[in-house]
């Protein structure tokens, strides 16, 4: 059965009051390497079918969500019946909302699932092999990972809605180290097809950063003027984004809750005219234009919102908190428009921002980071996060990098950083180090923070 036939047959079998079927066809290939040699690799194909049954009960709509891999014509009816059974056994869903009605779409519903081309790593793999040779001859070790995944989603609802989306996601991370592991540098890229990944250029960048680290100085903990490059800004903004649920804020449970009640929407978070936004048609960062959820989660995502169009949204507009992620159910209860979560995130300054290199040149005395690591929440009231610096902290003196510095453990809140930042650089596509397994599509500027809190020293390298 094609995925289209499968979802149509599942809908036809459904005896629930409402039903949404989501088929995800996934094709992926990956390479992983360490110490200038390949370590693991794989090519995988997988298929998942979720049947979401809604049964109207006296106390409200109940939902059953069953998701399985390896569904065949023989066991499809079992899955549909099990989903209905789960709905009937369930309690009323807290996030219940009417299923999304059909609307006009231009998706190519009949198109087959897209596949990761076998040759996706063709040119890339030979460039990587050459980079291993180059690194070996220059006494440098390369580590890293390359992955290409294409997920094709078919969503069909008993309301008549049909939507299809094929999402390519590629990640490339290259880590270079000195043979004694004392110096480390990193670059990461998001790519849709690997044709734009320049392995040789990335390796050259690592080589130059490892040369920066040939001189090293020890610095104590303290507050330092710090340049956060786009990759590290991405990791901080992603954490803030997934903490930006309207319901939790309305209930007084997040940094976005207003003293006395309500949320901080409308409040100025930054004196700088920064805009944090998402847009499914952002060039180069295209993401699904509709909601496809196989589980409700954390007040951010609801299975009842499946098929809901996802549009451009400003979360922070010119420094002011503009929107929080709001499901349709909570929108109805809180009398505000729904704001579905979008699978990309962009931070813009007012325009005319400088490149990171120009920001370094404009720094008299400060630290330049590479990326942040092991980011965890310490205090949700302020969204205080802790984490480490990783793969290169550099001392900038008189506009130039003069040495590498020890790593630090930092304690900072991204919300607080927005209020303290002193410069917003030029926005560029970037890959966060910490969250790129879950969130890859980001464009961020570098930020200058006058007093970043380096809490303790980490001896790690």
């Amino acid at each position: 059965m094609t995925p289209q036939e499968t979802v149509e047959r599942a809908l036809a079998l459904s005896k629930a009051d409402g039903c949404v079927v989501v088929a995800n066809e996934r094709s992926e290939t990956n390479l992983r390497w360490a110490n200038n040699t390949l370590t693991t690799n794989g090519a995988m194909r997988s298929r998942r079918l979720a049947v979401i049954s809604v049964v109207d009960g006296a106390a409200g709509a109940c939902v059953g969500v069953l998701e399985r891999s390896a569904v065949t014509a023989d066991n499809l009816e079992d899955l549909v019946r099990a989903s209905e059974h789960a709905a009937r056994e369930s309690a009323p869903a807290d996030d219940a909302a009417p299923l999304v009605e059909a609307y006009e779409v231009t998706d190519d519903w009949d198109a087959p699932p897209e596949e990761t081309p076998v040759v996706v790593f063709g040119g890339f793999a030979s460039a990587l092999g050459a980079a291993f040779g180059e690194a070996r001859s220059q006494g440098r070790l390369l580590f890293g990972f390359a992955e290409h995944v294409v997920t094709t989603t078919y969503l069909a609802s008993s309301t008549g809605l049909r939507r299809r989306w094929a999402q390519p996601t590629g990640r490339f991370e290259l880590n270079g180290r000195s043979p004694d592991f004392s110096r480390s540098a990193w670059v990461g890229r998001y790519t849709k097809d690997f044709t734009d990944v320049d392995v040789t250029g990335a390796d050259a960048q690592l080589a130059s950063r490892l040369r920066w680290a040939e001189r090293s100085v020890q610095l104590p903990p303290g507050r330092y003027e710090t340049l956060l490059p786009p990759a590290s800004v991405a990791d901080l903004m992603i954490y803030m984004y997934i903490s930006a649920g309207a319901r939790n804020a309305d209930e007084g449970r997040t940094v976005f809750s207003q003293l006395g009640g309500g949320t901080r929407i409308g409040e100025r978070l930054s004196d700088a005219p920064v805009t944090l936004r998402s847009d499914p048609v952002e060039p180069g960062l295209e993401s699904a234009p509709f909601m496809a959820a196989t589980a409700s989660f954390g007040g951010l995502v609801s299975v009842f919102d499946n098929g809901q169009p996802v549009g451009a949204t400003d979360w922070i507009r010119s420094g002011e908190l503009a929107n929080l992620v709001r499901t349709r159910s909570w929108a109805a209860k809180s009398d505000a428009p729904p704001r579905p979560i979008v699978d990309n995130l962009i931070l813009d300054g007012a325009g005319g921002g400088r490149s990171l290199e120009e920001m370094v040149a404009g720094t008299d005395h400060g630290l330049l980071l590479t990326c942040l690591w092991y980011i965890r929440e310490v205090d949700p009231q302020t969204l205080l996060l802790t984490g480490l610096t990783r793969d290169g902290v550099y001392l900038v003196e008189g506009g130039e990098v003069t040495a590498a510095v020890n790593n630090f453990r930092w304690n900072e809140s991204p919300v607080d950083l927005l209020s303290r930042l002193s410069e917003v650089g030029r926005t560029e596509g970037c890959l966060g180090r910490e969250w790129n397994e879950f969130f890859t599509r980001t464009a961020m500027p570098a930020l200058r923070i006058p007093d970043f809190n380096m809490s303790t020293v980490s001896p790690a390298s």
């Binding site: 990956n30 390479l31 992983r32 390497w33 360490a34 390949l38 370590t39 693991t40 690799n41 794989g42 090519a43 995988m44 194909r45 059953g64 069953l66 998701e67 399985r68 891999s69 390896a70 099990a82 056994e89 369930s90 309690a91 869903a93 807290d94 996030d95 793999a125 990587l128 890293g144 991370e173 290259l174 880590n175 592991f181 209930e251 007084g252 006395g260 009640g261 196989t294 589980a295 409700s296 989660f297 007040g299 092991y374 965890r376 310490v378 205090d379 949700p380 009231q381 302020t382 802790t386 480490l388 990783r390 453990r409 304690n411 607080d416 397994e437 303790t456 980490s458 001896p459 790690a460």
Partner: protein, 501 residues
């Protein structure tokens, strides 16, 4: 008495294994294994006693892994037909051939006896997937309502994750294993909101995730009644607690908090793949480098650490690993010195360490096995002190209960943890809760400051479902047992001051 699920046994695993392994042999591999897995999951989450998440998942598929001309090749599929098994075997060999040009470390595997048709089941009484959803949701609703009705509780989050994992493994050497295990992770969190002051506090249950069945929810292995009854008062006390003064304190740490420190600062640091650099670009490396095996002073002389995949109800416990190795127990730290690592067959051979200690694990049929964490635990001191006796030995200190926030660097030196409850210790007695507490240390300093371990009466097996590693990312369940323990002079941070307020 639990039995291997009949629906799993009815799958055509032997036919597919035969097809895949035969084809791999024809293609001239040095090693091939076939693994078919079915993983059933159910996640339930309630928000203020109303159902927020219900999701049943089933992941079924198989993988073929080969060593061909000294290079790994791996491929996975979902269609359970012999033709597809042959195709996947061919693809695994093809992947190995394409990758060979980039491989400079020929793969060889440590020897292991052959296990002919071995069967293993974890220890549990009631398969959670046999319990009606209405009963499960009903219990979580009752518990949530009980907490919501208590003074000072504004919100309650309840969640329950349940897993039934079946693995079938066969390799060219002749080993065949069929295994089944069950695990449960229930959590309830009470929240107090003070809108007037714009503040909120939470208090979560400390019941650990375990390798048990539904009986865990009904009184076997945990006293839910007592913990749920006390949670609101602990929360109320926390909202009124004074903010901690940063500085050095002696700590008495409960195993409900210490398990996570063991996990991060010993468990990960003694994974041999990290020591060899395989995780350098992602999960990280370790300060416990291979040249220090047998000499590194990890902690004080009272510190012993074992690795095992055998303890009853342990989350990493299983009969045979995903390399076909029978699981074991071994020493990692003895009298404070590093003496062992966690291994798989490839690394055991590479470093001439004899037989693998059985740490290969893949989290799904679509992922390649890696060296993953065993249950890494600290034994109790025989005839050791009670928690109260440990507290009695502290003049100025903090008693730490339950895990919360955690972070550690990529070489496993610098860590920072918070907890569910911090109680001030004054002159050997508890003197009320403190808030805004985090403790921060360097691994070897911290374990070096370990003065005393509690007795068996303080010992608890903690753990997590979601240990992350590797790219593509894989999650693994793992347990860590520990007694209560006394540490001297640990650095305490005030988290509000850290936030610059």
């Amino acid at each position: 008495m639990a039995e291997i699920d009949a629906a799993f046994l009815a799958l055509p695993m032997r036919r597919l294994a035969d097809a895949a392994l035969t084809r791999a042999r024809e293609l001239g591999v040095q090693h091939a294994d076939f693994r078919l897995e079915r993983i059933r999951t159910q996640d339930l989450a309630l928000r203020d006693a109303r159902l927020e998440t219900t999701r049943d998942g089933e992941d079924l598929g198989f993988a073929v892994r080969v060593v061909h001309t000294g290079t790994w090749g791996f491929a996975a599929g979902v269609d359970l037909t012999p033709e597809e098994a042959v195709r996947v075997a061919e693809q695994a060999v093809e992947v190995a051939m394409v990758s060979g040009a980039m491989n400079h470390e020929p793969v060889e595997l440590a020897g292991e006896p052959v296990y002919d048709d071995a069967v293993w089941l974890s220890a549990y009484s009631v398969d959670p997937f046999s319990v009606p959803d209405s009963d499960k949701i009903g219990l979580l609703t009752d518990w949530s309502e009980q907490l919501l009705s208590a003074d000072g509780v504004d919100h309650v989050d309840a969640r329950l994750e349940q897993v039934l994992e079946n693995k079938f493994y066969a390799d060219l050497a002749g080993t065949t294993t069929t295994q089944q295990r069950v695990r449960m992770e229930p959590q309830l969190t009470a929240v107090a909101v003070d809108r007037a002051h714009g503040s909120f506090e939470t208090m979560r249950t400390c019941a650990p995730p375990v390798g048990r069945g539904w009986e865990y929810m009904t009184g076997t292995g945990w006293d839910w009644e007592s913990e749920l009854a006390q949670l609101p008062e602990w929360l109320r006390e926390r909202t009124k607690a004074p903010s901690v003064d940063a500085g050095r304190y002696d700590l008495v740490i409960e195993p409900s908090n210490l398990w996570l420190v063991i996990h991060e600062s010993i468990g990960h640091a003694t994974e041999l793949d990290r020591a060899l650099g395989y995780e350098a670009a992602y999960a990280g490396t370790t300060f416990a480098t291979f040249d220090k095996l047998g000499t590194l002073r990890y902690g004080s002389a009272v510190l012993d650490v074992t690795g095992d995949r055998t303890i009853t109800h342990g989350l990493a416990t299983i009969g045979y690993d995903d390399d076909g190795v029978q699981t074991q127990t071994w020493d990692i730290v003895k009298d404070g010195v590093l003496v062992g690592y966690q291994l798989d067959r490839r690394m055991a051979r590479l470093k001439d360490l004899g037989r693998s200690n059985g740490c290969a694990f893949a989290d799904s049929p679509g992922h390649i096995p890696l060296q993953r964490m065993a249950n890494v635990s600290i034994p109790a001191a025989p005839d050791g002190p009670s928690t109260e006796e440990l507290i009695a030995g502290v003049d100025r200190g903090i008693y730490v209960v339950g895990d919360k926030s955690w972070s550690i660097d990529m070489q496993r030196y610098n860590f920072q943890f918070t907890g569910q409850r911090f109680f001030k210790i004054e002159n050997g007695r508890l003197a009320g809760q403190l808030k805004d507490v985090a403790y921060q240390a360097t691994t070897t300093d911290f374990w070096g400051s370990l003065e005393a371990l509690g007795g068996p009466q303080t010992w608890l097996l903690g753990g997590a479902f979601n240990c992350g590693k590797a790219q593509p990312g894989q999650v693994a369940p793992v347990s860590h047992g520990a007694p209560a323990a006394l540490f001297r002079g640990v650095n305490i941070l005030n988290t509000v001051k850290e936030g610059g307020r």
